[in-house]
């Protein structure tokens, strides 16, 4: 079965989309500003004779046309982290401030967690949750390599995330204060990673898409519940399926006090879709962004920004 055919009606230039999906992606690294500056990292890459090209929209991202990121001095020092270009989008959209309380709901293996820690100047509280102990090991390793000291790692189902561990010192509160921001970068069918993992669609099943959509709804709802009024929640996936994207947003809009907000992103994208296979979604899902591989020569991605409102 050709999975991508199901999106022909959604995509502006379907031939360009198909052609882009067949091209491999270059390695991209993000500079870890917890430990160094972009200028120092560039100098270290140059010294190591590693060609690096800025991606344009993000100061700290560089494509490595000829190299893999793992075996060089800037890597050993924790100055660079291999991360696909579009995967840097959701943390940039969440844009946390130093000193805030932030939740990364599906954190492992930690690329976005370490990016958030850097955006927060390694201050405040960044709770990083995952439900898989093996992946938590990778998350902890990446957070430590990044030198992040503001990350608290929890092992739990994000749908039942508890604020109890994050009570203020010497307080009688039963729970920690709600978050200022939350990143909900959920497990998904990963269709958009086809350029990096050519077998990404081999096990694709509609049942799986529909099943995982239920998990995604639960995690997004918990993030909204644990974020303060006026706070920000970013929802993202690396898949094209509206069942996992707009349908999840539509569900959250109906069930939780929140609204979708516009946001700027210096990358080409298409708006969220309001109709899919007979289902109609809230009109405001158009404020989400669909990034197709042919738009910016990247992987595929979906990103939405929500504001938590009064009950």
């Amino acid at each position: 079965m050709d999975v991508l055919e199901r999106y022909e009606s959604l995509v502006d230039d379907f031939d360009a989309f198909r052609a882009a999906c067949d091209r491999p992606l270059p390695s991209v690294v993000r500079v870890n500003t917890v430990k160094t500056t972009v200028e120092r990292a560039k100098a270290a890459l140059t010294e190591a004779d590693i060609a690096h090209e800025p991606v344009g929209w993000h100061d700290g991202l560089f494509a490595l046309p000829d190299d893999q990121p793992g075996t060089n001095w800037p890597y050993v020092l924790g100055w660079i982290h291999g991360q696909e270009e579009v995967s840097a989008v959701p943390a940039a959209v969440l844009d946390p401030e130093p000193g805030e309380r932030v939740w990364d709901a599906c954190a492992a293996p930690g690329s976005k967690t370490t990016q958030l820690a850097a955006l927060m100047d390694d201050s405040g509280l960044l709770v990083a949750t995952d439900n898989n102990l093996g992946r938590i090991s990778a998350l902890r390793s990446n957070a430590e390599r990044a030198g992040a000291t503001n990350v608290a790692v929890t092992h739990e189902d994000a749908r039942n995330h508890s604020l109890k561990p994050f009570r203020a010192p010497d307080s009688d509160d039963h729970e920690g204060a709600p978050y200022d921001r939350a990143l909900v970068d959920v497990p998904c069918s990963c269709e958009g990673t086809i350029r990096k993992n050519p077998d990404a669609l081999d096990d694709w099943e509609l049942d799986h898409v529909e099943g995982i959509s239920g998990v995604q709804k639960g995690v997004l709802r918990r993030a909204i519940q644990t974020t303060r009024e006026g706070g920000t929640v970013v929802y993202s996936t690396c898949t094209f399926a509206p069942e996992e994207n707009e349908a999840v947003l539509d569900h959250a809009l109906a069930e939780e006090p929140c609204e979708l907000v516009e946001f700027d992103l210096p990358l080409d994208s298409a708006p969220g879709v309001t109709e899919w296979q007979g289902d109609r979604f809230d009109e405001s899902v158009e404020r989400a962004k669909r990034i197709y591989p042919h738009h910016n020569d990247t992987g595929g991605f979906f990103c939405a920004k929500l504001e938590v409102t009064a009950e």
Partner: protein
């Protein structure tokens, strides 16, 4: 064992406990104090106590100390809290590679500067004979990267030899 208010007198390896500020506040036997940890970094490496003003210190597992950029109610039973940065409860305390890379740039004592070639040997996890006229024991290993000296990790200097302490997962053949 409990002293009646739920505070265990023994170390519990499944949770993080904030270090007592000073020995007067110590409840758990053998637990280092914040004051002792700050003094150790200062005396061993010349890293001023103010360097850690924004961090709270926690123990999980016997002697494994973590530095955390925020503060929460103690104890807390989760998987990670900041950066594992020091191993205590042994005759010689040992900093982690991550602590040295994160905080070691301000050290001015017990820092050994290696050539790039020597540093590559160190990062590969190999021991090497080197001259060093300072204290024996755990040293911060530095090398020049892009024109500045940068902390790379921890070496154990004894008997004319620098023994690499780079953990297996962090070793690289450069």
């Amino acid at each position: 064992m409990s002293d009646g208010d739920g505070t265990s007198r023994e170390n519990d390896g499944t949770q993080f406990d904030r270090l007592p500020a000073t020995a007067d506040e110590r409840v758990v036997e053998g637990r280092p104090t914040r004051e002792e940890v700050l003094e150790w970094w200062d005396e061993r490496f010349g890293i001023a106590p103010e360097t850690f003003d924004g961090h709270t210190f926690w123990e999980r597992g016997s002697g494994k100390i973590w530095a955390f950029a925020d503060d929460v109610a103690s104890p807390v039973a989760i998987e990670g809290l900041g950066l594992a940065f020091l191993r205590t409860r042994r005759e010689h305390w040992k900093p982690t590679l991550e602590a040295v890379q994160r905080f070691g740039d301000v050290a001015d004592d017990c820092v050994i500067h290696l050539s790039r070639e020597e540093a590559a040997t160190f990062v590969a996890g190999d021991d090497q004979e080197l001259d060093w006229d300072g204290d024996w024991g755990y040293l911060i290993v530095e090398t020049d990267v892009a024109g500045e000296s940068e902390p790379v990790g921890v070496g154990l200097y004894v008997h004319g030899e620098l023994r690499s302490q780079v953990p297996k997962g962090r070793r690289r053949e450069l």
